[in-house]
Symmetry: C2
Subunit: 234 residues, 2 copies
């Protein structure tokens, strides 16, 4: 029997998004018994300082806690890891300087996927202030000649409200509707697709309610993990 | 800020049941921000040998892999751990001999809960052959003067089929209906409640479809974890 590589998941940011990612990873795995599923370690420390507060408002730096988590995954023997929080990716290059363990970037996986879609020239971003301010998707999309489309200030406020509501487990139908309206405004500005560029967004906006195809980076990342893990011993 | 204890989850048996438990743990946690959630490490090694094959048919002993998982959780600093598989509990006393780390037993938590319900004198068990053959619930229930009610051979076969289908991600409506019929047969034999005594059962039988109150040990265990973790520093 081939020993599968240990897949590291740095989660907890937030916990519900971690559950969502693990669930999508399981769905992406071709398995008909427990034994055929991936070997996974999840380090979920929800006390990692808020990424938006850190990037936008000079709050506590999350890097040390991310370094700690990555080190735990490395110590346990993870072959590589993923981080189930888009905003945290702004800190990962610095984490990598301290913990020499490869990670799959949810941002890069998504940008590559979008670049390969012939009908997409601009992508609407539903993301945290952290992810947008850090320019994570804007840079990756621009590198593929794709135009990022961002909400206006009021729309971005509604996005943040929905994200924090998912984290609090208190999302209302009104907040869900507001998110659909923001997505519609992005389409009005020319977005060909809506990118759920925060791992809480798929928990607040369904593909059915999205006015254009909803690109879920968590699913893309899950597929990439399965592909990388299955190629590990070959 | 009080540092929360690290909660260990020994999962992967199966993966979907692990997601289900983590999801219930999050729901059981009184939190309105990421930071208020529990710090969790999940060790999900789905290659732990099948518990039913081991107990019923003399298959490979899962103890070494369980010991390995428990050791990983202990090494990472877990304050205590839970195992999201009922059948695996048959091996935990031996695991404890090798890894000195406290675990909360899903079986004991459930038996204590049932013993405190005034209307319950007998409990129908939907469980794997492993859990039933090891007598895990029968012993705990008997200690509280509760009568366990088990399916007949055909019913038990339907239960196992549903459980393996959940693990394979291939549960059919027919298998779900068969499970409801088994639950009804347990009620016919006098069961006051139906115990989802395998962590895959809540993914195959909903509380709404159960002919009597469905007792979900995963929820009871999640509540117990939250209680124990919040009392940790007091």
């Amino acid at each position: 029997m081939i020993e599968r590589p240990l897949v590291g998941i740095l989660g907890g940011m937030g916990p519900a998004a971690t559950v969502d990612f693990y669930s999508k990873l399981i769905a992406a795995t071709p398995a008909s018994t427990d034994e055929e599923h991936l070997k996974v370690m999840i380090w979920a420390d929800p006390s990692v300082p808020d990424r938006t507060k850190a990037i936008v408002r000079g709050g506590e730096d999350p890097t040390p806690k991310l370094v700690n988590g990555a080190q735990r995954l490395k110590d346990a023997g993870a072959a590589f890891y993923v981080v189930t929080c888009n905003g945290a990716h702004a800190f990962l290059p610095r984490v990598r300087q301290q913990v020499d363990l490869e990670y799959l970037s949810i941002v890069e996986v998504t940008a590559e996927h979008l670049a390969a879609l012939p009908y997409v020239s601009s992508a609407g971003l539903l993301a945290t202030d952290a992810t947008l301010t850090a320019g994570l998707y804007q840079e990756s999309l621009a590198a593929s000649n794709l135009t990022p489309v961002l909400p206006d200030a009021a729309g971005q406020h509604a996005v943040m409200e929905a994200i924090y509501a998912v984290k609090a487990g208190s999302l209302t139908a009104e907040q869900e509707r507001a998110l659909v309206e923001v997505a519609e405004s992005l389409v009005g500005q020319g977005a060909d697709v809506i990118v759920a560029a925060c791992t809480e967004i798929p928990l607040a906006l369904s593909a059915e309610d999205s006015p254009r195809p909803l690109i879920d980076p968590s699913i893309l990342l899950a597929n990439q993990v399965v592909q990388k893990a299955s190629a590990w011993n070959k």
